[in-house]
Symmetry: C2
Subunit: 214 residues, 2 copies
C-alpha cells in the first residue's frame, strides 16, 4: 500500500530494488573491492546497467564518468536514502517455534535491526526468556511499543490471529510490519507491510518446473 515518499516522487519499485543493490555492494566491499560500475552490478544481479543508473540517478549523481562508483560512498548514500544508517528497534509478536527461530536469528542484529521486545498471548509463554528477552503478554503490547517509540514489528502468529495483531500494532504506532503469517493484512495506507511466505516462493517456481517424472 501507500506511495507516501519523502524525497520527491520516487516509484516504489525503485525503492524496492535499493536493498538489493546495497546487499550486492556489501558483498563487493567484503571481498575488498573499492570501485564498481553499473555494468558489473547489473551482471551480478541480472539487471540491466541502464536500470541501475536510472534508479540511482533519482537520488543524485553518485558516480563518476569513466570510472564508476566508489563502493563505500554508494553504500553510505543508499543507507541514508533507505534510513538504515541507524539502528532500528523491532517488536516481535508470536513466540512459537517460528518466533523463537526469528528471535535467535543473528542476521537482523548484524544488519541494523534489533529485536527489542517479544509478545505472546499464551500465559505459559509469558515470562519465559528468549535470547535474554522476557516474553510479555499482549496486554502490554500497546504501552511498551508506544513508550519506546517502536515503529517496526514482525508477526509470527497463526494466520487466524495475524489481522487482529496487526490492528493492535498499528494502533500502538507501528508503521512497518514484516508478516510471516500466510495471510494478507489490511492496514491503513500509511502503514507498510512486507510478506515472508516461503511456500509462496516455492509455488512461484513449480509452474516452471515440469513434472518430468511421475
Amino acid at each position: 500500500m501507500a506511495s507516501n515518499n519523502g524525497n520527491g516522487n520516487i516509484p516504489d519499485i525503485v525503492i524496492s530494488r535499493l536493498p538489493i543493490y546495497l546487499r550486492a555492494l556489501n558483498r563487493l566491499a567484503a571481498d575488498g573491492q573499492e570501485i564498481t560500475s553499473s555494468h558489473e552490478l547489473g551482471q551480478r544481479l541480472g539487471i540491466s546497467s541502464a536500470q541501475i543508473r536510472k534508479d540511482l540517478s533519482h537520488f543524485g549523481g553518485f558516480g563518476k564518468q569513466g570510472t564508476g562508483y566508489h563502493i563505500s560512498f554508494l553504500q553510505d548514500r543508499l543507507r541514508k536514502v533507505l534510513h538504515v544508517d541507524r539502528e532500528w528497534e523491532v517488536a516481535l509478536v508470536g513466540i512459537g517455534d517460528l518466533g523463537k527461530a526469528i528471535a535467535r536469528y543473528r542476521g537482523f542484529g548484524d544488519r541494523g535491526f534489533h529485536i527489542s521486545c517479544l509478545f505472546d498471548s499464551a500465559p505459559e509463554k509469558v515470562g519465559q526468556r528468549v535470547e535474554n528477552l522476557l516474553v510479555q503478554p499482549l496486554s502490554e503490547l500497546h504501552t511498551t511499543i508506544e513508550t519506546r517509540g517502536i515503529r517496526l514489528a514482525m508477526i509470527a502468529v497463526p494466520a487466524e490471529h495475524a489481522q487482529a495483531v496487526a490492528a493492535h500494532l498499528v494502533e500502538a504506532g507501528v508503521r512497518g510490519i514484516l508478516n510471516y503469517a500466510p495471510i494478507n493484512l489490511s492496514v491503513p495506507s500509511n502503514v507498510h507491510v512486507q510478506y515472508i511466505d516461503p511456500v509462496v516462493g516455492l509455488q512461484r517456481m513449480t509452474y516452471y518446473v515440469e513434472d518430468e517424472l511421475i
Copy 2:
C-alpha cells in the same frame, strides 16, 4: 531468470500473483465460503478486480457472469496451473540454527512441500537427526538428489558458500532454489531462484517510515 512457460506465453508477473490468489482462496474456503468475486478478492488483496479477472483469463474462463467464482473449483484450477496439485520433495542444505528451524517448520508439509533430505558440510552435524531425517554430508548431495529425482531445494548456508552450493544443486538436477542466504545467486536460465531475506523486507519499509524520534 527464465521466461520458459508451459501454457502459451503467460507473463512471469501473472504467475507470481497466482499463489497469492490461491492463499486468499484457501482462507475463504477455511471460513466456509463457497463463492467469491473478483471484486471481493481484489479488495482483500489490495489489487484491482480488473487485474484479477485479466490474470485468471489467461488460463480460461473460471467464473460465471453474474455469479463470480466457485472457490473450490478455482482453487483446483490454480493448483493445477501452478503444479501444486501434487506433493513436491525438497532438499535442504545447511543445518545450522536457520536450517533446523526450516526443517521443523510445519508450514511446508501442510502445503504440499515435503522436506525429504538434509545436507551439511560440518562433520559434527552429519549423522545427526532433525525431525527424523538424517543429516547427510555434501558428498552425498549429488547422488541422493539425482536418484530421488528431486527438483526443488532450499539453501540455508552462510552467504559465502551459497553460490557453490547452488552450483552443486543445479548439477544434480535441481530446477528451483529457495535461497535464504543474503546473496544473489547466478544460475542457468532454466533454473529458478526465489529469495527469502527478511532484512530486505525491513529495508523496503524504513524508507517510508520517517525517523520522527531521535
